[in-house]
Amino acid sequence: MYPSRFRYEAPHSAAEAIRLLAAGGDNAKVLAGGQSLVPLMKLRFAAPELVVDINNLPGLSYHRADPDGTLRIGALCRHADLERSELLARTQPTMAAAAPLIADPIVRNRGTLVGSLCHADPQGDWASVVLSLGGSVVAQGPAGRRSIPMTDFVTGPFQNLLAPDEIAVEAVIPAAQGERRGGYLKLERRVGDFATVGVAVSLETSGEVVRRAGIALTGVGGSTIAATEAAAALTGHSLTTESISAAAEAAAEAARPRTDHRGSAEYKRHMVATFVERILTRCTAEPAERAA
């Protein structure tokens, strides 16, 4: 790999990292897992003058639930940590379904969920998952911390709302109102491939009634898409064949796919509907069956 010349810093505190970033301005880049930044530097699509490696920052590898059920994922928590997490397997069906579908085992050992959100690749899987769960990102800068809802965080393909001197320190998933159901389905051409189509569905139910629904789509638009009308079709009702197909149709309607070497726009739209339907149908099953 022969990137352009760059300066490399690996500070040991967030404050120091922020100071370096502030000095570097637009020409500085945070390095977390490096699984998106390094390939781009290798191809010289990215040529930062300064790389600030945050892997030495203490206490960011966690993912944990607060007593009220709020889930917090630190900036150095790897995909692999989430894939193997018992906490997620018990409490977060959408995230537990998505984690093993990201990239391949080697990439999962290094890549981070927060880095994936920051990278804002329209084909990145975590952004859809976090969007469907109504999550947010906590940013830390010279002036302290602020919370940015996922709905605002991504501003376009490969663009986010962070200022050049801000680090995303954690992602937050709010506590559920009731029982969580949901899933993530992804059409990939091969293990390690980005999604041709990915669909995240997250429900919070009490009894049979859906209290809150989130549906988000990967790879079928210039950014991750929140299929809000599809989610609205479910909220306040129980899951029926009718509500499921209404949501599937609305989600397909929300998709903005393009025809390319991964498939026709029509096919991708069809796959959105198929996946929404499959996940929701599975959500109607008894918990034991769903887990199977």
Binding site: R5, L187, R190, F194, T196, R258
Partner: protein
Amino acid sequence: MSQAVDEIKIGGLGASRKRVEDSRFIRGKGNYTDDIVLPGMLHMEILRSPLAHARIKSIDASKAWDIPGVHLVLTGEMMASRNLAWMPTLSYDTQAVLATDKVRFQGQEVACVIADDPYIAKDACEAIVVDYEPLPVIVNPAQAVADGAPVIRDDKETQPDNVIYDWEVGDRDGTDRAFASADLVSKLELHYPRSHPSPIECCGSIADFNRATSKLTVYMTTQAPHIIRAAVAMVAELPEHMIRIISPDIGGGFGNKVPVYPGYVCSILASILLERPVKWIEDKSGNLISTGFARDVYLKGEMALRRDGKILAVRMHTDADHGAFFSDAQPSKFKIGLMHSAFAAYDVPVAHLTARGTYSNKAPGGVAYRCSFRVTEAMFFQERMVQAAAADLGMDQAEFRRMNFVPDDAFPHRTPFGFLTDSGQYAKCLEVGLKAIDYENFRAQQAEARSRGRLLGLGISTMTEPLGAGNSREYDILGIKMFDSAELKVHMTGKAIVRTGARGQGQGHETTWAQIVAHELGIPADDIVVEEGDTDTAPFGMGTYASRSTPVAGAAVAMVARKIRAKARQLAAHLLEVSEEDIEWALGRFYVRSAPDRGVTIQECAVAAYANMPDGMEPGLDATAYYDPPNLTWPFAVYIVTVEVDPDTGVWDVLNMVAVDDCGVRINPMIVEGQIMGGLTEAYAMSNMQFITFDADGNCVGSNYMDYLLPTAWETPGFELHSEVVTPCPHHPIGAKGIGECAAVGGPAAFVNAVMDAISGTGVRNVDMPLLPDRVWEAITYRRDVSGAPPVRSDD
């Protein structure tokens, strides 16, 4: 004492001996081109064209020259002043080394920078300013021959259009007559998409010209070092004895490392100019977008049939897209390679094939990716056509093949296109395969599943591949005939070294050549070292590709061992004080016929060759053999796959796959199985995901491993291998036929036939590879064929 040595124990023929080369490979101790560091070595990077077709208005390299650490910037103009801007191709065309007038494909070599390190060289490439004037782009044969198409090769005065050749073979009139008398004519049209052999190690070279000795040493990733030496002598006008080509360990070739690439030529020139070693190591994208691709052929054809299922005749036409230069790396005199080996396993009375080749604004250099040239396309078309014909007749797939196979007692068999096949048990292989897949039972299961809306399918494919790229009458490269060679030196202690003119790239030559010698001489395989790839030490040979190593170089190894045995017999007679006629051979030992207890081992003969030879005998125990095979070898195989297709998504999964390979005698059964598994994996890849395509502007889609998909262990299905059918090759010294490519050649049609069988209820005749889910879904949903190279389509 009268006992022969145990052949399996000494690692002879039939021993599944562990690969000796692996002990260094799995320890990371291989020695690849990029591992080699020479004192004072400089580094070369190539600037490539971002556009597929454009006139070069100017190249300004002044900023690159200014960068500290830059030693040389080569452009087309500088190459032209040395008569090196163009080089001859292996198919008697010319290819640009560095572009002068136009760029003709995306990724074409435009300039080279030689610098202290690769970072500086890359920076300097970025500092070169090239002013391009874009030209209209051609990405397929239809566009190439359309009215008003821009002429890509306007550098050639004799080239008024984009057609490279129109060629035919077979009996046109006879075929016409047979079609006129047919009860039924079955037709098929398809595209075999462009793919890339994509070895994990990319191409590269280190050229080291020494002014003091006038000797040029080139370490390089080549499957054919002696051919390169001849080509360098011709292109660079250097005397051949002053050129040494060393091909160190090679990280996969698959045909990609047969051609001569501009990077090699530039590194050599740079070393001559700078009098320092110059290393060029291609990156992955450079390899995928500019070096030898494979396939990219549109095939159409028809089969004349009698009502009872007998094939009467076949007609084929192929349109091959060769890219910007006709630089196919193939040794036959046939323009479309061995495409006309199609239908060799079937008793087809008469056939005719026409072939047209065209230029396009795509990378040049068609190579035989894990096959004899074009045989993969031929077998794919054959087996897809056979499936279509059986379906049109309403006949069972297996039964139609069985009744049309060349029967076991009909060999030697002259194929309708003129090849001579020598042996085979085709029907028996099919029976083994059908039994293994439980054919009747599966058909019942399939019918039952279909009644519940589930789509199961079964696909059969057979293949017979002409291997060896040899016999000097019909095959040559640049006029050099396609024989091969082996040299064997037995040392005084009975240990030995074998060198051949082949060059392994993972096939296991270091293991198997020793086994052939062990079989012939009884010297334990562990006592024999194998060396290849250095033109100063190896005997002249044509390299490794087209599964030719065992058929040709492997035969030479057997022959040279027999020469040694003949001399050892004289030594034995001398030691035993009897005449040669009284001597018998049991593996590893000569003995006196009338007194079997009196004998000498081959090792004792070796000592005598140096220490106790008879008066008048030349000392030493070594020999060289050149082997010109009397014919190609023809292995045969049957591959059967079962699949389930999800009608809602178009995704398909392999349920079972069975492979029955008859490759004649197996030297090392374990290596043979490894070759079959690798080939089946590539076959699965072709059918499912692996292709290189281009958008309408000629941009390569598939320029890195995120888009050019190689299957991983995760999605590759399991394979059940069968070795019970063995038909030795009648003319090969040890009866071997070659195996490296069979599965990659014959496998793809099995997968595609299985998916087509699963969706046969839709009436769809063909979905072109790769069978990506969206294409299968489109076929099922709209009940229509899905054709062509995906995707020259886009929304805008």
